[in-house]
């Protein structure tokens, strides 16, 4: 009887916690404010339509179209690397482009280990995106965002690592279909 009472109390407490902390709070992600990096403002944004905007990067000389509800920010990661973040405010909706100087012409296991310490690379596939750019797409796991979709390619001395939430795979594919380099 004592055990039944304890179990019942635990069950009631569980319901109470669920009421006090609605599901919507559990769905809300977090941004780690401890991340370092200097914010840059090099990209140029032009509203292309009611739904889309075009982002052009003058230094890297690429452009792409993206849902204009995404906010764009750029971070200097040091060593010539930068991250361009396209993120809807307060939602797990968006993607990031990590761009780093790269002396190789192919993606090496060492580079994968540098950026994906877990080494999780599922279903790597070679595809062609946007402006006839050959890329490797695969699924991975991130301690921060969980299952991720990765699109990596090398262009003009830089490695581009494009990452999004796995659920946004189709949207990312559409966005990268608009990727264009000016030369």
């Amino acid at each position: 009887m004592k055990y039944i009472a304890v179990s019942l109390a635990g069950f009631v407490c569980g319901i109470g916690v669920s009421v006090l902390f609605p599901v919507s709070h559990m769905l809300t992600g977090s941004t780690d404010s401890s991340l370092s990096g200097t914010q840059l403002r090099e990209g140029i944004i032009v509203t292309a339509s009611s739904d889309e905007a075009t982002f052009t990067h003058p230094k890297l000389r690429f452009s792409l179209s993206y849902p204009k509800e995404l906010q764009v920010s750029e971070y200097d990661e040091g060593g010539g690397a930068r991250t361009i973040l396209f993120q809807k405010q307060n939602e797990q909706y968006g993607f990031q482009m990590f761009v780093v100087p790269y002396g190789e012409t192919t993606i090496t296991p060492e580079r994968i280990r540098t950026d994906i310490p877990s080494g999780i690379v599922r279903e790597p596939t070679t595809v062609v995106i946007g402006d006839n750019i050959e890329a490797t797409v695969f699924w991975s796991e991130s301690p921060t965002i969980g299952e991720s979709r990765e699109v990596w390619f090398v262009h003009d001395g830089y490695l581009y690592e494009v990452t999004t939430y796995a659920k946004l795979d189709t949207i990312l594919a559409h966005i990268l279909g608009t990727l264009h380099f000016s030369r």
Binding site: S30, E77, F95, F98, I129, I145, Y165
Partner: protein, 274 residues
């Protein structure tokens, strides 16, 4: 999947595969784990160019044969006569600084310069200008190198003169693994001397007879930090040369920072084992 040139069938197959990724995952992780670890970027020689001039003009310009890449290192071996000062400039507004002292031998002097974290691009030209004195001969050899640190790149240098059938400069002791070692030898070609790389070095610019002047360059990526000398074999052992060396840190790879918002929900589901 739109835009990624995957047909519907292959995409459906990929979705099915996602339900059973364990074996593939283990293979990939095992494969990656067996690759030797390296904390430095791969340093690589990309290309070189050279130019020689004789006459009264105080400057001369070398042109890279292919586009240079932003972020790379440019190293310049310069030699000239009369031994006034010289400066290096280019058409991409990069800044060049001396990697060694100016080494003098009779009427010839030589010096290594470099520009780190360059702005690159097409039709990249590098110019050497004599800023004092009257020069007749200038020889310059220019290397483009990838994977070198983008700031504070210079580690060690050495400079001197050498003679005999086996010539050398150094040793210096590098501070870190994977450094780019650049070395050059120059002489006035009165004795028709001819240098060639020896030891671990790879010759990039041969010591051809540019008028009465020659400058040879060679390089090496040193896997492990330690003592190193640059060495040459000379065809005319009685002739003396200026010999110089500079070593450059390999870049430490910048790893990715995940800036996307964290997925609390997914982590919660995994904790519950659902």
């Amino acid at each position: 999947m739109h835009g990624l040139n995957m047909n519907i069938a292959s995409y459906i197959t990929s979705i099915v595969k996602r339900t059973a990724p364990i074996v593939l995952l283990c293979v990939l992780v095992t494969g990656i784990a067996t690759v030797p670890a390296s904390v430095h970027a791969a340093v690589a020689f990309m290309q070189d160019t050279e130019v020689f001039k004789s006459g009264t003009a105080p400057a001369t310009t070398a042109v890279f044969p292919t586009d240079t890449t932003s972020g790379n290192l440019i190293v310049v071996a310069a030699s000239w006569d009369s031994c006034g000062d010289a400066e290096i400039t280019d058409n991409k507004s990069n800044t060049y600084v001396a990697a060694t002292v100016k080494q003098t031998l009779g009427v010839i002097c030589s010096q290594i310069f470099y520009a780190e974290n360059i702005t690159g691009g097409a039709s990249h030209t590098v110019t050497i200008s004599a800023t004092s004195g009257t020069v007749e001969f200038i020889k310059v050899v220019v290397h483009e190198v990838s994977g070198v640190a983008t700031s504070g790149a210079l580690d060690k240098n050495a400079s001197g003169t050498s003679s005999g059938a086996s010539q050398s400069v150094g040793p210096v002791t590098t501070a870190t693994d994977g450094q780019y070692i650049f070395a050059t030898a120059s002489e006035e070609n009165i004795s028709n001397n001819n240098f060639s790389a020896s030891g671990v070095f790879t010759e990039r610019e041969t010591a051809d007879q540019s008028g009465s002047w020659q400058t040879q360059t060679q390089d090496y990526v040193q896997p492990t930090a330690g003592s190193i000398s640059a060495t040459w074999t000379a065809s005319s052992g009685s002739s003396a040369s200026t010999v110089q060396m500079a070593t450059f840190f390999a870049a430490v790879p910048v790893s990715r920072t995940m800036r996307l918002r964290g997925d609390v929900r997914l982590r919660g589901v995994r904790l519950l084992g659902l």
